[in-house]
């Protein structure tokens, strides 16, 4: 494995790992705050128990997310010093604000986790809400830093020099809104479905039904609503990519030849050498319509991009297909949930319904990782779109593959540990949480 590939793999691994923990750490506090609110309002102890049980999960995920995030802030420099040397001051604004938001989140989390029986109920609740708000704010800020790499602005690049730097303009680059929106909605739908799926499993096994039913409902309402909203935000993101990153869009769609009535290709195996897609389903004109709101308008394909500036087509295309496929599935499930809720059907006694949601537990996160792959691999070979190549940014230090192996081992062990801990938390629900009064 050469050093460049090793550095890219290590970065991908670290981000792919961090993204799961940060999304859960960002969304779970919101669920927690809802349940906590219901407890304060109704005094129904089940809600307090759910809040306490969830807060333990949040603590585990938050710690893992925080340390992997610390790791990432160093990895930017350790692996890509050539990038940080120039980009740091330009896209650093959202990072400094994120530092502040994250700090506040850590303080509020300390107050929340250890504040039971110490703080006034509403002060305590507010601490939880602040954890949620600052978590979501951190998410938006970090993603706007990433969107700057996709849509660089706030500087002029003249003769290899970065001049006229404006960090505020860089932060509010043209992609920040669509990308952050897409990420935050994805975090809510992935976490909502994952949490709901776990509680559905426990209902299916007929364990602590009252407890798990209430928990399921809070999670799925967010998950389902987010899943239904996501296609709209996805459409916004795709149009954005078409405008500023035509190579990424073309790779996503495995769209090789510029044409009018551009077809949307569903599935299929891209053959980059022959510049065609085998076994795909083509819907004529649909890509033109999605990008330009008109079935006829020409869409630029990969043939307009020099080969040395093209991203890997197959990976980007597969990842995009997986994301969209799962997204559609989750949207349908969300629709079914709301429809049956509206019809006032007793869904949670139906095994087919529970089974569907149990199967869907990991789906959101698979889609999330796939989407992240689309945005990162689709930007290659650039680290700053059109300005700096990833290969120019990599550290001169040799032997990066050993660090990659080491981190693969660490992240693998941490994932195993977190799953193990989560299993034990769920296993202990009857003893620890679903009682008259849970011990925080």
């Amino acid at each position: 494995m050469d050093d460049f590939l090793a550095a890219r793999s290590q970065m991908a691994l670290s981000l792919g790992f961090h993204i799961i923990y940060s999304c859960i750490g960002m969304v779970m506090p919101v669920f927690m705050a809802i349940s906590h609110y219901k407890w304060i309002k109704t005094q129904d102890p089940v809600y307090k128990n759910i809040t306490v049980a969830w807060s333990k999960g949040v603590a585990i995920f938050f710690a893992t997310g925080a340390v992997s995030g610390t790791m990432l802030s160093f990895e930017l420099g350790l692996l890509w010093p050539g990038f940080m040397k120039h980009a740091g001051p330009i896209f650093g604004m959202p990072f400094s604000l994120e530092g502040v938001a994250f700090f506040i989140e850590a303080i509020a989390l300390g107050l929340f986790l250890y504040g039971w029986n110490k703080l006034n109920n509403w002060v305590h609740w507010t601490a939880g809400v602040i954890v949620g708000i600052s978590g979501v704010a951190s998410g938006i800020l970090v993603v706007s830093a990433n969107s700057w790499m996709n849509s660089p602005s706030g500087f002029d690049f003249v003769n290899g020099q970065y001049i006229n730097i404006d960090p505020i303009k860089a932060m509010f680059n043209k992609a920040w809104f669509s990308e952050s929106l897409h990420m935050i909605i994805a975090a809510f739908s992935a976490t909502g479905f994952a949490v709901a799926g776990i509680h559905a499993l426990m209902i299916y096994r007929k364990k602590n039904i009252a407890f798990h039913t209430k928990a399921f409902k809070i999670a799925i309402i967010f998950g389902a609503a987010a899943a239904i909203l996501q296609p709209f935000s996805g459409d916004l993101s795709a149009k954005n990519a078409a405008k500023r990153q035509p190579a990424k869009l073309a790779a996503m769609e495995a769209y090789f030849h510029t044409q009018e009535y551009a077809p949307l290709v569903i599935g299929g195996i891209p053959d980059t050498a022959a510049k065609k897609v085998n076994y795909g389903l083509e819907i004529p004109g649909l890509l033109s319509f999605l990008v330009h709101d008109n079935f006829k308008t020409q869409v630029n394909g990969l043939d307009k991009i020099p080969v040395k500036n093209q991203p890997p087509v197959a990976v980007t295309h597969y990842a995009f297909q997986i994301m969209v496929g799962i997204g559609v599935l989750m949207m349908l499930m969300g629709g079914i949930y709301f429809y049956e809720l509206w019809k006032k059907k007793d869904l949670l006694s139906k095994p087919w319904f529970l089974k569907t949601f149990i199967w869907a537990t990991p789906l959101g996160f698979i889609a999330l990782e796939a989407g992240w792959t689309v945005t990162e691999v689709g930007r290659q070979p650039w680290i700053i779109q059109g300005v700096m190549r990833t290969s120019e940014a990599v550290t001169p230090m040799p032997g990066i593959q050993y660090s990659f192996y080491l981190f693969s081992f660490i992240y693998f062990s941490l994932s195993v540990a977190v799953i193990f801990l989560l299993k034990r938390q769920i296993q202990m629900v009857p003893e620890l949480y679903d009682r008259k009064t849970a011990q925080p």
Binding site: K56, A59, I60, F62, A63, T64, A66, V67, S68, G69, T70, S73, F74, G77, L78, P81, G82, M84, K85, A87, G88, P89, G92, M93, F95, S96, L97, G99, V100, F102, F103, I104, A106, I107, A108, L109, G110, L111, L113, Y114, G115, K118, L119, I165, D166, P167, T395, P396, M397, G399, S403, I410, L414, A417, L421, R424, Q425, Q427, M428, L432
Partner: protein
């Protein structure tokens, strides 16, 4: 002007990370050196002390890094290249320590075997992390980084693996242990416990003095003119004298076991003085190279727009952070009274 505010935040963040995060590491270091029969009680006291605040304490590291890469990107990237390995080891320590501490407390089933496993990881990583933090600081200042080196060993290993850097690492570990022991003295009302922690604090202090002497010895071997740094300018000299006097005062107070809040202040003061003494003597140099050239905070900074925005961001941010942090400490300290 804004540049000085940013530099002030950088040093404040480093100092606070040392005083607060360092004490957290110290908690693990003390646990590592506590006899088995006392381990359980020590752990409980320390858990109560650092449980609610450890996440916040470690945010100072994030602030430090962000200020470095936004405000001083060239310094940050050079450090990342030549100190890649110690930074990596330190980060592994951060990961292992943070997760092990959380997992130990939030494992729903507290069986002995897994708890012992988490504890193992926690105490050893609590030792390794400040060791490498010290090594990084020592390497940045000691002039062992050689950008002209052509082979792997000289470029990426000897830049940090040398007598001076490693002795600074051990000195850091001892100081963290000392801080933690002193902080914990104020956490308990039990007279026997207090005695025990005072003894620990004294041992850690002796260890720090020995390690400090080693640093001086190593500086001689590595041709680092540490003595002239510290005694060569009035501010550093006064800081060192102040640290020494506060050590004597600390010993007097500690032996009477009174004014436990003052002990904390004095210990923190001592560590601050050591940091100021070294920091001031090297200022504005932040990284010094083998050929005697250096990277200065006053010249290797980002463009003025980025510095201004960073400074404003930090000032506004601290309006939120400091009161919140104050409330966090207050909320968990008032319980004893």
């Amino acid at each position: 002007m804004m540049l000085y505010i940013v530099i002030l935040f950088l040093f404040a963040a480093i100092t606070l990370y040392f005083l607060l995060g360092g004490a957290d590491f110290g908690a693990g270091i003390i646990e590592l050196f506590t006899s088995t029969d006392n381990k359980h009680r020590t752990r409980n006291i320390m858990y109560q002390a650092i449980g609610p605040i450890w996440e916040a304490n470690h945010m100072w590291l994030i602030i430090t890094v962000v200020v470095l890469f936004v405000g001083f990107p060239v310094i940050y990237s050079e450090m990342c290249i030549y100190l890649h390995i110690p930074l990596l080891v330190m980060l592994l320590g951060v990961i292992a320590r943070g997760t092990a501490f959380s997992f130990r407390n939030y494992d729903a089933i507290k069986d002995e075997k897994t708890q012992a496993f988490y504890t193992h990881i926690f105490v050893y990583s609590s030792f390794v992390t400040p060791l490498f933090l010290g090594i990084i600081a020592g390497s940045a200042l000691s002039g062992q980084i050689d950008p002209k080196a052509t082979d792997f060993l000289h470029a990426y290993i000897f830049s940090w693996f040398n007598w001076f850097s490693v002795s600074v690492g051990f000195f850091t570990v001892a100081l963290c242990g000392f801080l933690a022991a002193i902080y914990i003295v104020g956490e308990t009302e039990d007279v026997d416990e207090i005695k025990r922690y005072i003894r620990k604090a004294k041992i850690m202090n002796i260890a720090a003095v020995i390690c400090g002497a080693l640093v001086f010895l190593a500086s001689h071997f590595e041709h680092v003119h540490l003595a002239s740094w510290i005694f060569g300018n009035p501010v550093s000299l006064v800081s060192v004298i102040a640290a020494t006097i506060s050590l004597v005062v600390l010993y007097l107070i500690i032996s009477h076991r009174r004014n436990r809040q003052w002990i904390r202040v004095l210990a923190a003061f001592q560590v601050c003085m050591i940091l100021i003494s070294v920091g001031f003597s090297r200022f504005p140099r932040f990284v010094i190279f083998k050929d005697g050239s250096s990277m200065s905070l006053l010249t290797e900074h980002a463009n003025s727009n980025s510095i201004d925005d960073l400074g404003i961001g930090l000032l506004v941010g601290s309006l939120f952070i400091l009161p919140a942090l104050g409330y966090l400490y207050y909320a968990f300290k008032k319980k004893d009274r």
